[in-house]
Subunit: 409 residues, 2 copies
Amino acid sequence: MILDKAALDARDAADPLAFARARFRLPEGVIYLDGNSLGALPKATPARMAEAVEGEWGGDLITSWNKAGWMELPHRIGAQIAALIGASPEEVVAGDSTSVALFKLAAAAVRLRPRRSVILSERGNFPTDLYVLEGVADITGRRLQTVDADAIETALNDDVALLVLTHVDYRTGRILDMKRLTDRAHAAGALVLWDLSHSAGALELDLSAAGADFAVGCGYKYFNGGPGAPGYMMAARRHQEQIRQPVTGWIGHAAPFAFEDRYAPASGMGRFLTGTPAVLGLVALEAGLRTFDGVDMAMVRQKSKALGQLFIDLVEARLPEAFTLASPRDAAARGSQVSLRHPDAYAIVQALIEAGVVGDFRAPDIARFGLTPLYLGFADIGQAVDRLVRIMESGIWREARFAVRQAVT
Amino acid sequence: MILDKAALDARDAADPLAFARARFRLPEGVIYLDGNSLGALPKATPARMAEAVEGEWGGDLITSWNKAGWMELPHRIGAQIAALIGASPEEVVAGDSTSVALFKLAAAAVRLRPRRSVILSERGNFPTDLYVLEGVADITGRRLQTVDADAIETALNDDVALLVLTHVDYRTGRILDMKRLTDRAHAAGALVLWDLSHSAGALELDLSAAGADFAVGCGYKYFNGGPGAPGYMMAARRHQEQIRQPVTGWIGHAAPFAFEDRYAPASGMGRFLTGTPAVLGLVALEAGLRTFDGVDMAMVRQKSKALGQLFIDLVEARLPEAFTLASPRDAAARGSQVSLRHPDAYAIVQALIEAGVVGDFRAPDIARFGLTPLYLGFADIGQAVDRLVRIMESGIWREARFAVRQAVT
């Protein structure tokens, strides 16, 4: 089912989410298929940042902690995120990097299962998740066990304190069944922590319905919060009052400005906060989340599936046998990305970037294309595949300069 | 020794640091004596932020991790800070909140003394330090002991793993003797971690000469990095290769983009990094540090002492017995602030803010005035005291509206 340009334009014209594209500033001529790594710049963000920097900081200085509501940013943003992940407003706070957020939540969670010794995760999970869990296991005297996805359920025994899974795999986009795995973990007496970095803002999520205990996620991917934006933490209300996280700083204190010598945790999610809120990052994240105003996540998901299907169909029709599909073929099992395997994926991605199609490479052999329904259209996908075809057919990607490796995130 | 306006203007005219004031944008009519809580906005910061947001993020998107050097920000800023605190460039990295940074360093440090059970600190230390140490002690199976400043040396016995002190007391501005206390701790076999939040950028520091093992500090006070700016971590080179900090994220990995399942610490300070660098906060911090370009810290210290002396002299001459001096009278023992005790300090500070003199209140009874030599002059101090005199003599601070407490940082 290959569509010509007119047909793709027609699909864009009929797209109920087309209005959202005007909320972003995208560089001329670039097709940006990397919003799952760094979301694009919302048009409203520069003015909002300038207001925060020049007006709130420069003009009102220290008084902005109250006057501009800086102190409330972690909770205010948390409530906005909660609406996008199916949690209650008082179950989410924003702050710290996603990795630090995961450390705090995971270390707190295992303490709720003091007699169990295992933290269970998936082999090949996003590396920072595994590294952080290694650190948590080490400092809390537990053991990190990793298994392949299909072995998770059988590994859930009565020694597992905490199961930590990334909902959408960063390499392939494969979705894990949140409800089912949460249920199985609970049946085994374990708690579950979901990393939503590659799902939130692209998929319909309902953490409450899934019975999730905890979640973390990333502010700079689908949430468009800017490079290195703060992450967020979710803890189900039923756990909040008995949980203690280890990085106990003043902003997580019950009375931060009483300047008492002894720590006493704030009620609710406040206790997951640690240091002074990172205002500039939080302001940008809040502006990023505004791109979801009035957006129906069911429509986002529907469009994401359709964009992925189109991408796969076009690549397979026009470049048969050039790539192996690394993502699930079934749209229902696939997040908002399409990943293609090729032994020279690195060079191909570099050549594509030069041609104005920005995707990314994930070791060892994956070319990864993120599909962000808020600012990508069907004609964009058509053009991206046109350029991919041109690169593959010309062989330009074999030029030596495309093989020079640089660190990328 | 009370100077009239002309004499103060003459001192400003002769001030070799007067050039630095032009590097800041200060609101008209405001005398800002709170740079020790939130540094003022550098004039260059808005344009630099706009460039990072619109050009680097909006224009170059993901490629800015390499092209704009985002990945290097923690190290680049670390090297700039190192020059201001007397450390080697490769001994400092920037990132995370100061509280999270302290957690990482302190938890790592105690592991270098596995057979000692005590973390020692000062009673009345800045609360987040004590709260973080409580968390570190708890999760590492140690005990936090706090003593008054004059009892620190006698408390240093062979069970102390780590001594954590804030160099300049946040309430009174009293300076601890870094070299002496570090030597005593080392003689007792303990390690020492200094919190430089209230000293760096205002005092001459030489961590290397003092033999300090570790240090943390704050980016948003004298460094002018913006609200909630990232903190920084310093570890002496001799400790770097054997130390393991517990919050092991991907950016602290030896090969972050190899996407390996097992954690392996980066060499040097890189291992203290955790999550994706918070670019927007780091960019603002880097711009803030630029206000120290070509600035001699000996001159900063000299001016800071003189500003403090003038403030104390003027207050004591014009408002005898209105306040008790909470700061050391001896300039050599006093950081870059003057703190005055008064039972109604809260209301007085509020009335002063309304009159355009921004200081802050610290529980229970301290009015705190930060002196930032880069953007404050002698005439400013004269004016600030003029307004304080007017408030005290008029009794306006007794009006009920000034007693309404708000959270402030």
